[in-house]
């Protein structure tokens, strides 16, 4: 009934995460109704990303050239390395403008229930990287959930014997938060992690 190219577009869009058949159809019709230049720009942008964006061979963030901008920036601190689960987490930390060190992206977390072990993450590359860099401290910035904590504990076991200081990002009440409305787990963690004034 519908033209074959439209069906192909709907099928491709429906493969995207969070996009079902109906949404894919709506997006396809939107593209069809839009000026042709928009669709061409969109397809061009997708082609560019596929052709030009690679994983940085040092930190495994996204790179356009040989290394990513964070690895080539000479102003950044080489002695501190922040380990994150994914590129989105790296971007979140960058937005704080507080961290001036380097990054390492694991591309996942250890997940005993899903069968994800250290071999499926960029942990071996992290160890290799430490061998030829002046890193003195590693900040483990994985999420404060069970998988993130398992990953942090594993990294601590692995890295401590190498003589590197390993730290974990703090957990507790968010800025501007209200104790009355804080959930029990977060509040308990905040009490455990209290600091002397």
């Amino acid at each position: 009934m519908t033209p074959a190219p439209l069906n192909r577009l709907v099928a491709q869009l429906a493969k995207l995460p969070g996009i079902g058949e109906k949404t894919a159809q709506r997006l396809a019709f939107h593209l069809l109704r839009s000026p042709p230049e928009y669709a061409l720009e969109l397809s061009g942008a997708i082609q560019e990303v596929v052709a030009q964006v690679r994983l940085c061979p040092r930190c495994f963030s996204l790179a356009e050239g040989a290394l990513c901008p964070l690895c080539t920036d000479a102003r950044r601190e080489d002695r501190v390395l922040c380990v994150v689960e994914g590129v989105a987490d790296l971007l979140a930390i960058e937005r704080t403008r507080e961290f001036k060190g380097r990054y390492h992206v694991l591309h996942g977390v250890l997940s005993p229930l899903e069968g994800v072990g250290p071999d499926q993450l960029r942990i071996r590359e992290l160890i290799t990287r430490l061998g030829d860099s002046p890193v003195e401290e590693i900040i483990v910035a994985t999420n404060p959930d069970v998988e993130g904590e398992a990953t942090a504990l594993y990294l601590m076991r692995l890295l401590k014997p190498m003589g590197v200081k390993v730290s974990r990002i703090a957990q507790g009440i968010p800025m501007g938060g209200d104790l009355e409305y804080a959930d029990q787990a977060t509040l308990a963690r905040a009490l455990q992690g209290r600091r002397e004034l």
Binding site: L113, G117, A150, L153, Y181, D183, A185, T186
Partner: protein, 244 residues
Amino acid sequence: MDRSIELAVVVSAVDYGEADRIVTLLTEHRGRVSAFAAGARKSKRRFAGALEPGTLLRAHLVARRGSTWRLDSVDLDRSHLALRTDLPRLSRALYALELCRELVRDEQPHPALFRILVEYLGQLEANRAGPTSLIAFELAALGLAGFMPRFSACALCGGGLVEPVRFDADHGGCVCGPCGLRTAHGVPVSRELAAALAGLQAGERTPMPADQRARARELLNRFVAHQLGRRLNAVDFMAQLGLD
């Protein structure tokens, strides 16, 4: 609309869509239940921090069409946060959760299994459960789920374990020397190990030496994989990390 408040342990949770999660709960009175928690990844009030594997909570469930419930809210009972500070204990807890998740079917109550799981998580959190405890828990859970492997007598003839003893998952446990001639898939097992495992089944809590634990783990992995049709993911995870 059927509503229910259930004491439950979160046995696993997977992200769904942009902000939702599908949570698998082992409840005290309804057995395993899958529940859809809308907005769980963004909600700071209803679910924050609670929908993590191992958390004991009171789940406010609402029946939907199909087999999945809607999780309206939860009251946290115990989050077992201390487990997240120790990788071996955390791994044991996750192994126990996966085992329980796989041993039961949806909405088939297993209150005794629920109780031993809650008790075991509590012992792990209090640092009173070493590596042997996982084997003891596993044997108890298998027994409660109706899969008790037999270590105290021959699983085929019911007689004593005459050497050479073999463990045959197909026949549900150890088989004696004469019966072992009729079994195709058995693996050799020492009488000492069989006696140690039978002791754990009987409630003894004597810590096993590391080499005996490793051998027991092999047998139980074989048995569980035979009963469930697949190896547990946590088994491979613990093996990769050298944990037991």
